[in-house]
Symmetry: C2
Subunit: 348 residues, 2 copies
DNA sequence: ATCCTTTCAGAGAGCGCTCTCATGCTCGGC
DNA sequence: GCCGAGCATGAGAGCGCTCTCTGAAAGGAT
């Protein structure tokens, strides 16, 4: 890999020569100018402008051990990532927060085990200062890889590792899935529904489990026939709805673990001639604006502020990265659980 | 910005000491091992494994001036980027190709002028070896920024600069928008349609212009009332369709410049009681699987292989980056125009 | 005036790696 | 058996930057 022809960019040295000062002084000015007297700093700044000087990141990183880049690792194939508005919103929140602190976002999608290896190499390679990991399934090795690579990490969603100590030391941001699910079911009960079914997400993901647990908190004696597992896609939601109708034709309420699945369920209910909410009331989860507001009828759902969660993840990570501004030497950051809220529209 | 506590990773030096060779030899082995005798190389490899040595990217970049990362710059706000499946497919193609060559993808979204500045800084900062730029609107400054930053660039879609010399030296990948549009209109003509309207994309984008030009190639005397400008969103397509129906209630064919807009148009046609394709035949553009196959009725459209175009963009850029394997000193790469194809489904 | 403190600027040592160049070795040909 | 060709290895000079350490100058107190 031969070096490319030098782009011939001016270096610190050149600026220093031009301004008639030392490299150190230029460096100070470029990095905020603390401790450099006004006029001198001015002269340096002029030289920087004249030469069009731009710091070389690699050189900087080499000594500071900071990249100014954060990896966003999504454990889903591209197809899901780009299809599901959930990711879009979360990435938007992250991207905002990172940009505000002049950090770059490096997107890593890892669909299968082969990709995991590549992602692991990348994290280990020290290209990024930290990682935000998403959409973990059970036993996912990514966080462990990140930990071994010494890359500070914040996880989106509650992690599931059995070891309580590991768990305690892992930063994550999640919403109150269980509480939200309880609210959803209570809404259906309040509407007088008595045969309430649940379309769960993939049960290897903590969010799905927590929502199912919330459902069971309110309806502990639910028949297993009233629970069907989906996969967070509209088609999965539709299939689950079909199974439920087959097994329990008399159901009068459905709590779907995501708006996207609820949209599929609505389609099936309509096709089967059930009126929503008259015959069957439906509550979703997420309050994904692009979905919940546009279904027919508009979806009653549990709102979680996904974009905000993304922002919080980024914020948490950036805090954790800060060289302990705390006197104790340990920055005071901890995992965050965000609240949920029932949003009533037409479907329940 | 004080240095973080040294992660204490083993360095080349350490490996060299362990294997009892020089740094240079270890470097050679790590980078492919050319010119190192078998047994020695083996010893080095063993030392690497024992110490868990991983090369420091920053140090490498500092000397090679290569960082193994490519920026994908999308001149659209996040909302559009994550909503429009077009980008998803293109990014997928790019991501595949880059991953295959061990290059990282750095995603840069730039919604407004303020972001442009940040992106410019990033490109100029030398974080990436090259850039793929997308979704350019007229007079967009991004390619100029990239050029000034000395960052090799490939553009998605035909660029529009007036200066022919600049244009000639710019690499891009585009599909045969004009030819595809002609095919679309000819299909409608072949079905016996005589009042054919066009829903154009935003006319500050070359793709929209080319498709409109193709439309006019076949129907040079089209009334201006039969052309409405959309914005590549379903809502935009719907609004354009409404305008068209108002102005020309007797239209019997529509060529929409994208499937996404066509889906909006179909909704409006249905709402207005027009049967598709009986009363009004509709042809889209893109053959976006997730859209065209799921509309009601499924959409007849012009297929362009978006993912492949993404792949080609990445390939072109990687070639351009290669240190002139050509004897002439200039790698033989040039812009690419991919073909389009009519895909007949039910809507026309 | 003297001394001490404080502030500002420069010198210089790396950060970890690659790559050129010099060196020493092996080996084939005469 | 000698010489030069050819190849494997080592030595060392940077790449461009940050940061500590030191020295000089400036200010205040005595």
């Amino acid at each position: 890999m031969p070096a490319r022809p030098a782009a011939h960019r001016p270096t610190l040295e050149a600026v220093a020569a031009r301004a008639g000062v030392s490299r150190a002084t230029v460096s100070r000015v470029v990095n905020g100018g603390a401790g450099v007297r006004g006029p001198l700093a001015e002269r340096v700044r002029a030289a920087v402008d004249e030469l069009g000087y731009i710091p070389n990141q690699a050189a900087r990183t080499l000594v500071t051990r900071r990249n100014g880049a954060i990896a966003v690792v999504v454990a889903e194939p591209e197809s899901r990532f780009f299809t599901d508005p959930f990711f879009a919103q979360q990435v938007r929140g992250i991207s905002r927060e990172l940009a505000a602190h002049d950090n770059q976002l490096v997107l890593l999608l890892t669909g299968g085990a082969a990709d995991h290896e590549r992602v692991g190499r990348y994290l280990t390679g020290g290209h990024v200062d930290g990682a935000l990991i998403f959409s973990l399934h059970a036993d996912d090795s990514l966080p462990v890889i990140a930990r071994n690579a010494g890359v500070p990490t914040v996880i989106g969603g509650r992690p599931t590792w059995p070891d309580p100590d590991t768990r305690r030391r892992t930063l994550y941001v999640d919403c109150d899935n269980r509480g939200g699910a309880r609210d959803a079911v209570r809404r259906l009960l309040a509407l007088g529904r008595r045969r309430i079914a649940h379309i769960a997400g993939p049960l290897d993901q903590p969010a799905s489990i927590d929502r199912l647990d919330g459902f069971r908190d309110v309806l502990p004696d639910i028949a297993p026939g009233l629970i069907a597992e989906g996969d967070f896609t509209p088609e999965g939601g539709a299939r689950a709805m079909e199974r439920l109708l087959e097994r329990s034709p008399d159901l009068d309420g459905v709590f779907a673990a995501s708006d996207v699945m609820a949209s599929g369920a609505l389609r099936v209910l309509r096709a089967r001639g059930r009126r929503v909410p008259d015959d069957v009331a439906v509550v979703g989860f997420d309050d994904m604006v692009s979905v919940a507001e546009w279904t027919d009828p508009p979806l009653t759902t549990i709102r979680q502020d996904i974009e905000e969660m993304g922002r919080l993840m980024a914020q948490l990570l950036l805090h954790a990265l800060e060289p302990a501004s705390d006197p104790d030497g340990v920055p005071a950051v901890s995992s965050i659980i965000t609240p949920t809220r029932l949003v009533v529209r037409a479907s329940a």
